[in-house]
C-alpha cells in the first residue's frame, strides 16, 4: 500500500488556506443527519466533541473515567506555546514551525507542523474567550515564559496547572453541548474494538465499566483521541488509566502504527523510591528556567548537597551546552542525566538522581517570587519526598512521559482506515522524534478545535450514508470477539496478578527500549517479551467476573495489548539504525556522545501494518521531504 499523506500543493504558508477552500462542505441542514463517535475527552477529544456539536453534528462521546474532566491532559503543568510574539522578542509562526521541526529532529511532516504553528494563535484566543485564567502582567495583558528548545518566550501558562485550565475550558464547552443534547456523553465506558464495514470505520464496541455490559455503537465516522502509550513502561508520568487499547485495537483493524519507537523520556521527574512505586510524578520543565542542574564532580561523593562546595559541583548542562544551558530539549537533558548517573555521580539513596537547585534563583529573586511562580510544584515535591525544596535541592531523574509515535494519519488526520480520525498524542504527526515542551497542549487543541472540524466534513460529504446500524453483522461479530477475549482472560485462573506481569514487562522495555538502545538488547528483548506474554496467557489471575466493576479485568486487557505493542516498539527501534530525538541508538552517536541521524537512509515515517497474530508486521514508508527547513545536526551548544 502506498501511503498518501495528502499534503496540499503550494507554498507552505498557503497550504492550509488552500486546502480549507478545496475541502468539501456539509451544509448546515445536513450536518444533523450525521453522527460522529468521539473516543476520549481530553484536549483533543473534548475540543473535537464540543466543536463538532457546535457545527451541528450529532456526537456520541466516551471516556473511561467517571467524568470527562479527569482526562489526563489535566495533568500538564507548564504551559502551551503560541506564536503570538506578545513579548516582542522575535517570535513568529515561522519560528515556532522551525523550532518544532528542529526540536523533532527532522522526523515530522513539515506541512502538519506549519499548520500547527498557524492555528496556535487561535487557540489562545479561544481559551481566553472561554474564561481560562492565564497568568497576566500587572498591566492586564497575558504573561509568557520560556521553555526548552526555544530562545523566545512563547509559553502561556496558568500557574503550574495549565493543562487543567485548558481541559476545564474544553470540558465546559463540551458540557454546554451535552446540555443542548447535541453530545451524548458516556463516562466509565471503555472502547474495546473498532467496527469496520465495507472498509470504513463505522462504529465501536464498548464495555460499561460499572456493570460490564458490552454494547455496539454505529456512526458515520469515528474520532479517536485516546492519548499515548507511555504506560507500556509500567512506570511513567501517565495516569494509571491511560492506555493504548483503543489505538491498538484500531491498529489490528487496519490502522497503521507509525514510529512506535519514538518515546519521550522527561528529564525532571521525582525519582523512584521503592518496589511498590505505582507511577512517577513529573516536575514541570518550566522549573529549568530558574533551577540549575548539577551532580558532584567526584564519583561516590555522598555528602549532603549543602556540604559540597561550589567548585566541586558539576553544572553539566551549563558546561556542555553554554547557549541553551539548563534549557536544552528534553531528550538531551535526559540522556545527560543518565550519563552522569552511569558514571557513578548520581545522588540520593539509589544513585539514580541529579540535583535541580534553586538556591541561586532564590537569592537573586527572593523566595516569594519563586513561590509565586512554582509554589504548587514545590508543595507537590515536598508532599511526595518529605523534603523542602526551598532549602534542599530537588532530586530528579528522567521518566517516560510522552509518546511521539502513534497511529499514522494523513494531513486530514485520517488514518489508513477511512472514516477513522486520530487526534492528539494518539496520532504521530507533529512532533517527529522528540516533542518540545508546551507543544502537547497546543497539538491536542489544534487538532480538536481547528483541524478535524474542517477535515471531517470533507470525508462525510464524500461518504455514502448507507444506513449502518449497530445490529449489522459486522457489529455482532466484533461484539462476540470482544466478549470471547474477556472470557479467555478470566478463564486463565493462574497465579500471578496483572500488576506483577505489567511491572515485569515495564522493566524489560525500560531496560532495552528506554533511554539508550542497541542491536543486541533490542533483539534479545523481543524474545523476552514473547516469553513473558506466553506466561501471561497461562498464569494470569483475575479476581471477580465480567459483570461488575473490575479494575483488574480492565487492566488485564490493556496489559495484553502492551505485550503486542512493546514488541512492535522494539522492532521499530531495531530497524531504525540511527539516533534521532528520543530514539538513541548507541551505535549511532557523535564523538561527543550526541545523537547522530542518518538522513540518507532514514528520512521517513515508519508506518507498520498489522498482518495477523504472531506474523511479522509489514513496514510501509512515508518519505519525508524538507523543503523549508534545512536538515542540520541539531546543536544546542
Amino acid at each position: 500500500m502506498t501511503l498518501d499523506a495528502k499534503v496540499p500543493d503550494g507554498p507552505i504558508q498557503d497550504k492550509w488556506d488552500n486546502h480549507r477552500f478545496k475541502l468539501k462542505l456539509v451544509n448546515p441542514a445536513n450536518k444533523r443527519k450525521y453522527t460522529v463517535i468521539v473516543v476520549g475527552t481530553g484536549l483533543g477529544g473534548g475540543a473535537a466533541a464540543a466543536s463538532l456539536a457546535e457545527l451541528g453534528y450529532n456526537v456520541i462521546n466516551f471516556c473511561i473515567q467517571d467524568s470527562p474532566r479527569r482526562a489526563h491532559s489535566i495533568a500538564a503543568q507548564g504551559g502551551i506555546n503560541a506564536a503570538k510574539n506578545y513579548p516582542n522578542d522575535g517570535d513568529s509562526i515561522w519560528r515556532l514551525f522551525y523550532d518544532t521541526v528542529k526540536g523533532g529532529d527532522y522526523r515530522s511532516r513539515e506541512a502538519n507542523v506549519y499548520r500547527l504553528a498557524q492555528v496556535s494563535n487561535n487557540i489562545i484566543d479561544q481559551c481566553v474567550a472561554q474564561g481560562v485564567p492565564f497568568a497576566r502582567e500587572y498591566g492586564g495583558l497575558l504573561d509568557n515564559r520560556s521553555f526548552g528548545g526555544a530562545q523566545v518566550s512563547r509559553t502561556f501558562y496558568a500557574r503550574g496547572q495549565t493543562g487543567q485550565q485548558l481541559l476545564l475550558g474544553a470540558y465546559s464547552s463540551l458540557m454546554r453541548q451535552v446540555e443542548t443534547g447535541k453530545v451524548r456523553l458516556f463516562a466509565r465506558h471503555e472502547m474495546l474494538d473498532l467496527v469496520v464495514q465495507n472498509g470504513h470505520a463505522r462504529g465501536i464496541v464498548t464495555r460499561n465499566l460499572v456493570n460490564g455490559e458490552i454494547k455496539s455503537w454505529a456512526a458515520d465516522a469515528v474520532v479517536l483521541a485516546t492519548g499515548g502509550y507511555g504506560n507500556v513502561f509500567y512506570l511513567s508520568t501517565n495516569a494509571k488509566n491511560s492506555n493504548a487499547t483503543a489505538a491498538w485495537r484500531c491498529h489490528k483493524r487496519g490502522a497503521f502504527f507509525a514510529n512506535p519507537c519514538y518515546t519521550q523520556i522527561h528529564p525532571t521527574c521525582i525519582p523512584v523510591s521503592g518496589d511498590y512505586q505505582s507511577k512517577l510524578t513529573l516536575m514541570s520543565e518550566s522549573l529549568r528556567n530558574d533551577g540549575r542542574v548539577w551532580v558532584p564532580k567526584t564519583k561516590g561523593d555522598n555528602r549532603s548537597p549543602d556540604q559540597i562546595p561550589e567548585d566541586e559541583r558539576d553544572y553539566y548542562l551549563e558546561r556542555r551546552y553554554p547557549s541553551f544551558g539548563n534549557l536544552v530539549p528534553r531528550d538531551v537533558a535526559s540522556r545527560n542525566a543518565k550519563a552522569v548517573c552511569d558514571e557513578g555521580r548520581g545522588v540520593g539513596d539509589t544513585g539514580l538522581a541529579v540535583y535541580l537547585d534553586f538556591a541561586d534563583a532564590i537569592q537573586r529573586l527572593g523566595e516569594d517570587t519563586i513561590r509565586d511562580k512554582y509554589g504548587n510544584l514545590f508543595d507537590m515535591y515536598e508532599r511526595i519526598t518529605g523534603e523542602n525544596p526551598y532549602k534542599v535541592p530537588m532530586r530528579i531523574y528522567p521518566a517516560v512521559h510522552y509518546t511521539m509515535g502513534g497511529l499514522w494519519v494523513d494531513y486530514n488526520l485520517m488514518s489508513t482506515v477511512p472514516g477513522l480520525f486520530v487526534l492528539g498524542e494518539a496520532n504521530f504527526s507533529d512532533h517527529g522524534a522528540n516533542r518540545l515542551g508546551a507543544s502537547a497542549l497546543m497539538q491536542g487543541l489544534a487538532d480538536g478545535y481547528f483541524v478535524v472540524p474542517y477535515t471531517i466534513g470533507d470525508y462525510l460529504a464524500g461518504s455514502d450514508q448507507n444506513g449502518t446500524t449497530a445490529d449489522d453483522a459486522e457489529f455482532k461479530q466484533t461484539e462476540q470477539e470482544v466478549t470471547a477475549r474477556l472470557e479467555e482472560l478470566l478463564s486463565i485462573n493462574g497465579g500471578k496478578s496483572v500488576t506483577e506481569f505489567h511491572r515485569e514487562l515495564g522493566l524489560l522495555v525500560w531496560e532495552h527500549v528506554g533511554m539508550a538502545r542497541n542491536k543486541a538488547g533490542l533483539t534479545k528483548v523481543v524474545d523476552e517479551i514473547r516469553a513473558l506474554r506466553e506466561q501471561f496467557w497461562q498464569d494470569l489471575r483475575i479476581p471477580g467476573d465480567q459483570s461488575q466493576l473490575n479494575k483488574n479485568l480492565e487492566f488485564a486487557g490493556r496489559v495484553a495489548d502492551y505485550f503486542e505493542l512493546s514488541e512492535l516498539m522494539a522492532k521499530d527501534a531495531l530497524h531504525r539504525n540511527e539516533s534521532c530525538g528520543g530514539h538513541f541508538r548507541e551505535e549511532s552517536q557523535t564523538e561527543e556522545g550526541e545523537a547522530k541521524r542518518n538522513d540518507d537512509d532514514f528520512t521517513y515515517v515508519a508506518a507498520w501494518e498489522y498482518t495477523g497474530q504472531d506474523k511479522e508486521p509489514k513496514l510501509n514508508k512515508e518519505e519525508l521531504s524538507f523543503e523549508n527547513v534545512k536538515l542540520t545536526q541539531r546543536s544546542y551548544k
Partner: protein, 251 residues
C-alpha cells in the same frame, strides 16, 4: 524507619443495591515512603493472592490534579494532611500499629457503585447547567484585546483550581455542593468573559445543584478545611450574593 503494620478497616460493598460494611485487614510491611494509594495497591495484591476480592477505589493521575481519588480516612475526606488529595498523602503521616478506617464519600447525591467508588455525575450536570461561556470555536477576539487586572485573574484562578473531587460534599454535615458550585460561578463572575451570562448561570447552576439532592450551606466551613486546593468559602458568599441579585432582577 522500620516498616509499619497497620490495621485497616475498609468499607466493602458489592454494588449499589447491596448493603456495605467495614471489613478489617491487617497489613504488614508498609513503607513510610509509599503513597496511601500504593499502600492500598499492596493490600489488593495480597487479597488477590489470598483468593479474595480486591478493594475497588477510584484513582487516575496520582498527582493530585485529576480529582478522581475520593477516600474518607479516619473520618476526614482526603485524610489528615491539609491541602492534599489522598493520592498525594504518604504513609509517613502514619505510625506502626495505627488503625486506619477507609470509607467512600457518603452523600445522597453520590451513590456508591462498589466499595469505595461513588457516582459523581451530579457535578457534571451542575456544570452543564451553566458553568461555561457560550462561545463557539472560531469567533474569539485577540486574546490581549481585553486586559484583565492581575488581581482579578488571580482571583479567578484561585476559584478555577477546583479539581471537582467532591471532598467538600463528603465533609459537609448537610452534604452541600456549595463550594464546588460557587467556585465555577465565582471564576466566571469576576472575569469579563463571564458577564453576559452572569445571572442566567448562577440561577441555572444553583437550581441544578438543589435538584440533585445536595443539602444547603449552613456555613460549617468543613468543606474549606478538607479542600485539597484550599478553595475559600468566600466563593460561597459570592455565589449567594450573585444568586440574590440575579433572582431579584431576572425573575
Amino acid at each position: 524507619m522500620e516498616n509499619m503494620t497497620l490495621l485497616l478497616k475498609v468499607w466493602r460493598q458489592k454494588n449499589a443495591e447491596s448493603k456495605g460494611q467495614l471489613v478489617p485487614y491487617t497489613l504488614e510491611g508498609v513503607s513510610q515512603h509509599m503513597s496511601f494509594l500504593e499502600m492500598l495497591d499492596v493490600l489488593n495484591e495480597k487479597l488477590i493472592k489470598d483468593d479474595d476480592d480486591p478493594v475497588e477505589f477510584d484513582n487516575d493521575c496520582r498527582e493530585g490534579i485529576c480529582g478522581m481519588c475520593s477516600l474518607v480516612i479516619n473520618g476526614i475526606a482526603h485524610g489528615p494532611q491539609k491541602a492534599t488529595a489522598v493520592c498525594q498523602l504518604h504513609m509517613r503521616h502514619f505510625k506502626d500499629g495505627d488503625t486506619v478506617t477507609i470509607e467512600p464519600w457518603l452523600a445522597k447525591a453520590f451513590p456508591i457503585l462498589k466499595d469505595l467508588v461513588v457516582d459523581r455525575s451530579a457535578f457534571d450536570r451542575i456544570i452543564a447547567a451553566g458553568g461555561y461561556v457560550s462561545m463557539n470555536a472560531g469567533g474569539a477576539p485577540d486574546a490581549n484585546s481585553s486586559p484583565i487586572a492581575k488581581a482579578v485573574a488571580d482571583d479567578a484562578m484561585d476559584a478555577a483550581s477546583c479539581i471537582g473531587c467532591g471532598a467538600c460534599v463528603a465533609a459537609c454535615p448537610n452534604a452541600s455542593a456549595s463550594l464546588f458550585t460557587s467556585a465555577k460561578i465565582s471564576q466566571l463572575a469576576v472575569l469579563p468573559q463571564g458577564q453576559p451570562e452572569r445571572k442566567r448561570r448562577v440561577l441555572g447552576m444553583v437550581k441544578q445543584m438543589d435538584s440533585e439532592g445536595f443539602g444547603d450551606c449552613s456555613n460549617y466551613a468543613e468543606c474549606e478545611a478538607v479542600c485539597p486546593k484550599e478553595i475559600s468559602i468566600a466563593h460561597i458568599a459570592r455565589m449567594k450574593r450573585e444568586y440574590m441579585k440575579a433572582a431579584l432582577t431576572e425573575a
